[in-house]
Point group: C2
Chain length 424, copies 2
C-alpha cells in the first residue's frame, strides 16, 4: 500500500542532501505560482509540483477524483476523500517522479505547466480550519509550568495523568509561515501593581508544538476509538502557539487561556501525511497509572520527530534555543482524538489539533522561553551576544522538524514568523 | 433609517396576538420549504418569507445585492454586506408587507412562490460558524458558581470586574433548535471515588444564554473599539450552552471547559437584528470599579430581553423553571467584542459570541440547574409533580425570549432540544 515510502526510490527531480522533501515525503500544501492560479501541490526537493495541472494533464488517471479537487484554495475537499485516496495519489506521484519513469521528465511543455522552483511560489494556509483544539500533552512542560506557578508538590494537576487535558483555541488567527505578527496589546496585572494596566505584552513567547489535521468524523453523539483514530488523521504540521504570558496570567482563571493566545498561531505550510511518517513510529512513554480503557493504545502510536526552535534577531543570524522531540509527549494523537470525541463531539475535515508545548527532560529540550528562562529568572544568550528572557520586537522565531533514519529524512520544513511592534 | 421599526405599521399578513414576529421584527434565517431549495428568509407572524424568491421576482430592486445572496445555505454572505444593506433589505421588506401595499398581496402566483406556512418549512442552522466564543458576563451567575465551589469570600475571581472573562468553545457541535442531543459520555471523578470513572454524565445541565453573530472585522493585529463594536454585530439568537457538570468539574483545571461543553450547544433559528431591538435599549448595571478606557461605554448599550427556560418531561407538559433578563449582564456586547479584539484577534462573518449563563438577583432568575438546585442540594418540582436536580433523559429544554413595550413585541421564538439517552 505504501509504495511511496520505498526508501530505495530516487527521483529525476534533484533533491539536495539533507532536504526535508525527498520523493519519500510528498507532503500536501496550497500555493500560488507567479502569474497563475492557486493550486494544491506537493514538493520534491526544491520543486513545487502543481497537482491540478498534473491531474488535468492526465497523469493521475485511474484514481477516482472530483475534477476540481486540486484546483482549490484549501486541502479540505481532498482531505474529505479519505485515506485510501490520499494513498493512491501519493503512490502515483511517486511513480511519476521516479527516476526510472521518463514520461513527464521528457515532456518539456508539461513540465512547464506542472513544476515551479519553490522560491517562485507563495505558500498559503493549507487548510480552512473551522475548529482548533490545543492539548497540553507534554508531561515535562506541564511539570515545569506547575513547579513555577504552584511549586513542586502540586506541579501536576490531579487529572493530568488520567486524560489528555485540552482546550479550544481560535481558528481565525491561525496563519501560515512567513506571515508576520504584531506584538499583542492587552490588559495585564503586574505582580507589584494594585490595579491592572493596559499596554503591549512584555512577556511574548513561542510554544514549540505540532498539530494534526483531521478528516470528517462521525455524527454528533458518536465517538472515535483509539483504534480508529489514525484513519481520521490526514497529516501533521509544525505549530508555533504564540503566547503573551502576562496577558494569559491575568485572564486565565477560571476558564483558561483566551487573549493570551488568540492573537496568532503560525503553522508550517506543508502537511506531512501519517503515511510518510510510518518508518518513524515509536512507542509513547509508559503511562502510569494505566488510563481508562477508552484511552488505551498498544504498540507504536507516536513518532520520532526531531524539533528545533531558533531565534533570529533583526539583521542578525539565527541561534538555536531549543531541541526537542515529538516522542516525548505523554499522550499520543490517537488518545487525543479518542478523548476529544468520547462525549460525542464531532470533527470535520481541516480541524486542527495541536499538541501543547513539547518539552523534554533536559533543559535544552524546553519548548518555550517561559521554561528556558525559567519565568525570566535566567537569561538566554544568543550567538550574536544579545540576551533574551522573552521575545523582542524584530525577532524572527523559526521552528524546524524532521524524522531521520539511515535510509531517509522526512521533514516538515519550517514555520517562521517575525514579531512587529504593537499597534497602539 | 429604521423605518422598519415604525410601531404603527401593520402587515397584510396575519400576525397572531403576542406573536414574536410582527412586521417590526423581520429576523433573518435559513429554511428548507417542502419540495423546494434551501433559502434565506424572514418571518411575519406564522408565515415564512422566501427572500431568494422575493429577490428574483424583483421586489428588492433598488438595493445593490449579489444575484445569489439569498440562495444560500447560510446567512454568511448576506452578513458580509454590512449594516447599511441589512437595513435597506429590512426596510424594503417592511414596505412590501405593509397593509397599505397590495402589489404582492394581490399577486397570487408570486405569493405562492414567496410565502410558506411556518409549519411547512424546516428551519436550518442560520450561519456557518467558524469561531465560537463564550463569555461569562453575568455577575449573579459567576457569584453563584463561585460561592458553591470556593465560598462567599472568594466567589468572584480578582479579574472578573476588570474584564469580560471568556473562552473559546467548539463550533462544530452548535446545532439548531429542534435537533435532539445525546447525553454525553466521559470521564468523571465522583467526590467519594479514588479514581476517575467512565460513563454517561449524571449532571446534565442547560445554560440560559444569548449569542450575537458578527460580520467581518478588521485585519489581524487591529482592534475594534467599544464605539465601533455594534457596527460589527449582525444580530442575536437564544443560546442553550449544554453542560455536563461532572465531566466539566474533573477536566477544567487549569485550561478551562472542554468536553463538559463541546458535545452540543443549541441556538434559535431566527437571527434578530440589533436594529429590531433598538426600542429596547437600556443601560447596563453600573460598573465599579470603572474598567480601563478600552472597555468603557456610555449610554444604553444593552437590551431589555425577557428570557425563560422550560423543562418538558417526555409525554408531559412544559414547566417554567427560570425567568431572567439579558439586561442583568454586567458586561455588554460592545465591551465583549472590544475586549475580544483588543489584542488584534480577528473576527469573521458568522462568528458566534455567547453571553455566558444569564442569571439575575432572585432565585427564580437563575439560568442553570446547577444554580436552581444549588449543586443538587435542592429539588425543583415541575408542574406534573416530577422532580429534578439536573436534566433527565427524555426531557426537552425550551428557552424563549422577547422584548416588549406598550407598542410592540420583538421576540426570538424558541430554542428547543430533547435529551436522548447516551450512546454507550
Amino acid at each position: 500500500m505504501l509504495t511511496a515510502n520505498d526508501p530505495s526510490r530516487k527521483s529525476w527531480l534533484s533533491v539536495p542532501q539533507d532536504s526535508d522533501f525527498p520523493i519519500q515525503n510528498l507532503p500536501f500544501g496550497v500555493f500560488l505560482p507567479e502569474d497563475d492560479f492557486t493550486t494544491i501541490g506537493t514538493r520534491i526537493g526544491n520543486t513545487a509540483i502543481d497537482l491540478s495541472a498534473l491531474h488535468q494533464l492526465g497523469y493521475l488517471d485511474g484514481i477516482v477524483l472530483p475534477e476540481d479537487v486540486f484546483l482549490q484554495d484549501t486541502l479540505n475537499d481532498f482531505i474529505t476523500l479519505g485515506r485510501p485516496v490520499w494513498r493512491q495519489v501519493r503512490n502515483k506521484i511517486a511513480e511519476i517522479f521516479d527516476e526510472k519513469n521518463d514520461i513527464l521528465k521528457n515532456n518539456t511543455e508539461h513540465r512547464e505547466q506542472i513544476l515551479f522552483p519553490i522560491e517562485e511560489v507563495q505558500m498559503l494556509l493549507p487548510v480552512f480550519i473551522q475548529d482548533y483544539t490545543d492539548f497540553y500533552s507534554s508531561m515535562e512542560h506541564a511539570m515545569n509550568v506547575g513547579i513555577m506557578f504552584r511549586g513542586k508538590e502540586n506541579a501536576l494537576m490531579p487529572n493530568w495523568k488520567h486524560l489528555p487535558v485540552g482546550y479550544h483555541g481560535r481558528s481565525s488567527s491561525i496563519i501560515v509561515s512567513g506571515e508576520d505578527i504584531h506584538r499583542p496589546v492587552g490588559q495585564m496585572k503586574p505582580a507589584d501593581a494594585d490595579e491592572p494596566v493596559f499596554g503591549p505584552s512584555k512577556l511574548l513567547d513561542f510554544e514549540l508544538e505540532m498539530g494534526f489535521i483531521t478528516t470528517d468524523g462521525k455524527h454528533l453523539g458518536e465517538r472515535i476509538t483509539t483504534d480508529e483514530a489514525e484513519d481520521y488523521i490526514f497529516g501533521m504540521v509544525l505549530f508555533n502557539d504564540w503566547s503573551a504570558r502576562d496577558i494569559q496570567a491575568w485572564e486565565y482563571v477560571p476558564l483558561g487561556p483566551f487573549l493570551g493566545k488568540n492573537f496568532a498561531s503560525s503553522i508550517s505550510p506543508w502537511v506531512v501525511t501519517l503515511d510518510a511518517m510510518e518508518p518513524f513510529r515509536v512507542e509513547s512513554p509508559k503511562q502510569d497509572p494505566t488510563p481508562l480503557p477508552y484511552l488505551q493504545t498498544e504498540g507504536k502510536r507516536t513518532f520520532d520527530i526531531n524539533l528545533q526552535t531558533f531565534i533570529q534577531p533583526e539583521n542578525s543570524t539565527e541561534s538555536k534555543v531549543c531541541e526537542s522531540n515529538f516522542k516525548y509527549l505523554y499522550w499520543n494523537i490517537s488518545q487525543q482524538l479518542a478523548h476529544h470525541t468520547v462525549n460525542g463531539c464531532n470533527i470535520n475535515a481541516g480541524d486542527m489539533m495541536a499538541s501543547g508545548t513539547i518539552s523534554g527532560p533536559e533543559k535544552e529540550n524546553f519548548g518555550s522561553m517561559l521554561e528556558l528562562s525559567w519565568r525570566g529568572a535566567h537569561t538566554i544568550t544568543l550567538d550574536d551576544g544579545s540576551e533574551r528572557k522573552f521575545i523582542n520586537d524584530g525577532d524572527t522565531v523559526i521552528m524546524r522538524g524532521y524524522c531521520k533514519n539511515d535510509d531517509v529524512r522526512i521533514g516538515f520544513g519550517e514555520v517562521t514568523s517575525k514579531v512587529l511592534p504593537a499597534i497602539l
